[in-house]
């Protein structure tokens, strides 16, 4: 919460008189203001000589506070908003779309965990190509390990363009691939900066190639967090949870489907479990575990956590090419 004196420039009614009055009651920041008994404060302000100015100032601070939080919604409004805005994005793998009851859900943060070379990046590239093609929208791919392969995307889009049932003319490889953006991020602070920029762009309703952004992929979030997690302070943990919250906020506010990938570590008993620890477990809405059969192109996906479905169900898909 900012100190009260920084609001002086924005709101002229918060003048030095008010600041002096508040300081005499031990109120220096907006936080102190919230904690204090407001009725008492107003009553004390009445007794002062400049009570009108003081009460105006207090009302101004209260208005400022009211603008800081999201407006209240009731259950009916929430349901309407969900039905209207939060659609499912098909990933292009039929088995997976059936498993997820429609695909990647807008407004949700989906985590895909798996051991090395199990097909996570391939799944992300495939989903990006399919979503950009099917919904004529934009996709943003944040890449932390230089594994964004434009070749694989072009392969997938060409297959989709050649398939007989989508009979739209005039769509080119260039057009579809120009709506898939890729950006490399190598540490957690650049990630915060990038997400902040994204929020600025989305709030001013920017569009890429006249199409709306509907899918955000981060491959992989664990490479950004592993260098800072653990160690002496809790800073790594708090940064990890903060990035999770920012992603979820972006998903809900702007109706994005957010897909992040995570790696696995060996847990007790030799089983592999998703990395990033216990605190991260509650952050994604949906958690999926991927594994690949030895020496084959078949990948198996199972549900570890889902907000509206039972866990443990599995499906397979094949990586072609």
């Amino acid at each position: 919460m900012p100190p009260l004196k920084s609001l002086q420039h924005q709101f002229p009614s918060i003048d030095s008189n008010l600041l002096h009055f508040c300081a005499s009651h031990g109120i220096f920041s907006v936080e102190d203001f919230l904690v204090h008994d407001l009725y008492m404060l107003v009553a004390l302000a009445e007794r002062q000589t400049s009570s009108k100015g003081l009460k105006e100032g207090i009302a101004q601070v209260l208005t400022f506070l009211n603008n800081q939080h999201f407006p209240w919604m009731n259950g009916v409004e929430l349901l309407e908003s969900t039905q209207h805005n939060k659609h499912f994005l098909l990933t292009g793998f039929d088995g997976i779309d059936t498993l997820l009851c429609g695909g990647l859900c807008e407004g949700n943060l989906t985590e895909l965990a798996g051991p090395s070379s199990s097909g996570k990046t391939q799944f992300c590239l495939h989903a990006a190509a399919h979503v950009a093609y099917t919904y004529m929208c934009s996709v943003l791919y944040l890449d932390t390990s230089n594994s964004f392969s434009s070749k694989r995307i072009s392969y997938r889009v060409n297959r989709l363009l050649a398939s007989p049932n989508k009979g739209e003319k005039g769509r080119s490889l260039e057009g579809i691939m120009s709506s898939i953006l890729s950006h490399s991020v190598f540490d957690i602070f650049s990630m915060f900066e990038t997400l902040h920029q994204l929020e600025l762009s989305l709030s001013s309703q920017a569009e890429i190639q006249n199409s709306k952004l509907r899918l955000l992929i981060v491959d992989s979030i664990s490479s950004l967090i592993t260098p800072i997690l653990g160690g002496k302070g809790p800073q790594g943990h708090s940064l990890m949870l903060n990035v999770g919250f920012i992603l979820k906020k972006l998903a809900i506010d702007y109706n994005l489907a957010v897909l992040v990938t995570n790696h696995t570590v060996v847990g007790e008993g030799g089983n592999s479990k998703p990395a990033l620890g216990e605190s991260w477990k509650s952050v994604p809405h949906t958690r999926l575990l991927l594994s690949r059969d030895q020496m084959s192109n078949i990948c198996n996906m199972s549900i570890l956590k889902h907000t509206s479905m039972a866990c443990g169900q599995t499906a397979s898909f094949r990586l072609d090419g």
């Binding site: 420039h9 230089n146 964004f148 490399s184 762009s201 001013s204």
Partner: protein
């Protein structure tokens, strides 16, 4: 934007938060001396803090949805002209899509004696093949942690590389020009060698590389042989090891992307027991296996050396045989190939 998302050190962040500065606009119209008095720090530190804050505050709506993002189409057009660093073995180049690619980290692991260092030295020489003859014409950085780099072997490999180019050129009659430009000493002079004796030196070198490469301006490959050595013995704190290694990998990724060069990390093997059976896997654990973009595992198949591409974002997983000869890394059948004289 909030303070915790800016790159401050933990002590700076703690001081800022306890003084009540949580949002960017808390700093508006604040002078360095006032901030220094408030936080109880030196004026220099206060002006550093204000500099970070003003930089963050200057973020305007970027031209594209995120500044610095490229469309997949632009990347595809760029990649069509991207060069690969040949390994001098056609089969190996085949499974790698032409050779070691730039902008990516390739991890090469295998049992001792399989030829990892040989491959490293071969790549350090091959990156210098001039652009006219299909190479990158760049310089190499070789970070040696084990002491296995032998200059005499590099000399031998460089000589054979020049000989191969001359043989190819003989067929097109440009011999004179070629001889002037290629010389073994020039090739050796373009391999920058760092000898590392502890893990802290390894971290220090990686941190220093950015400045070094900005000054040198032509480095196209960084080889670390091996990245494992100083992290295996006497390293008790495994959590620290994971943190240090993942930070190292991310820094190398940034270097690879920023300067458009290839990074090759050589790794050793270890035994893993799963359900009572023992298996050879690459060292440094599960978390490290996610750090690289591509992974090649070298192994013995009977009497033959083979390479298996274990991880790649754009190529199918496949294997190819190779051999280590006096000339360096070559294809298996090359010893039986006769030179064409026409």
């Amino acid at each position: 934007m909030e303070i915790w998302s800016l790159p401050f050190s933990p002590s700076q962040r703690a001081k800022l938060l306890s003084a009540g500065y949580t949002y960017l606009h808390s700093f508006s119209h604040l002078s360095p001396s006032a901030l220094a008095a408030d936080l109880d720090v030196s004026p220099q530190e206060a002006s550093d803090v204000l500099r970070v804050v003003t930089q963050a505050g200057m973020m305007r709506k970027p031209d594209s949805i995120v500044a610095g993002a490229q469309t997949a189409w632009d990347i595809l057009c760029e990649d069509r002209t991207m060069n690969h660093i040949t390994t001098s073995c056609e089969d190996l180049d085949g499974i790698l899509g032409g050779g070691i690619s730039c902008k990516e980290i390739t991890e090469v692991g295998g049992v001792p004696g399989i030829g990892k260092t040989q491959l490293g030295i071969q790549l350090a020489v091959n990156v210098q093949i001039p652009v006219e003859y299909g190479g990158l014409g760049g310089k190499a950085i070789y970070v040696d942690t084990e002491g296995s780099f032998m200059v005499e072997r590099a000399f031998q490999i460089a000589e054979s590389c020049i000989q191969d180019i001359m043989d190819k050129v003989l067929q097109t009659d440009d011999v004179g020009v070629c001889q002037e430009n290629l010389h073994v000493n020039a090739i050796l002079a373009n391999i920058f060698y760092f000898r590392i004796c502890s893990y802290t030196e390894q971290i220090a070198v990686v941190n220093y590389l950015e400045k070094f490469i900005s000054a040198q301006k032509d480095v196209k490959i960084i080889i670390i042989d091996s990245v494992t050595f100083h992290f295996r013995q006497d390293f008790d704190d495994l959590a620290l090891r994971t943190r240090v290694l993942s930070a190292l990998a991310q820094k190398m990724m940034k270097l690879a992307k920023k300067f458009n060069l290839a990074v090759v990390l050589l790794n050793q093997v270890t035994t893993k027991c799963t359900d009572g059976s023992f298996q050879l896997t690459l060292a440094l654990g599960e978390s490290w296996s996610h750090a690289c973009t591509n992974r090649i595992i070298l192994y013995w198949k009977g009497n033959e050396r083979c390479a298996y591409l274990d991880k790649s974002p754009s190529l199918p997983l496949s294997a190819a045989p190779f051999s280590v000869t006096t000339k360096g890394i070559r294809s298996v059948a090359s010893s039986c190939k006769r030179m064409r004289t026409t």
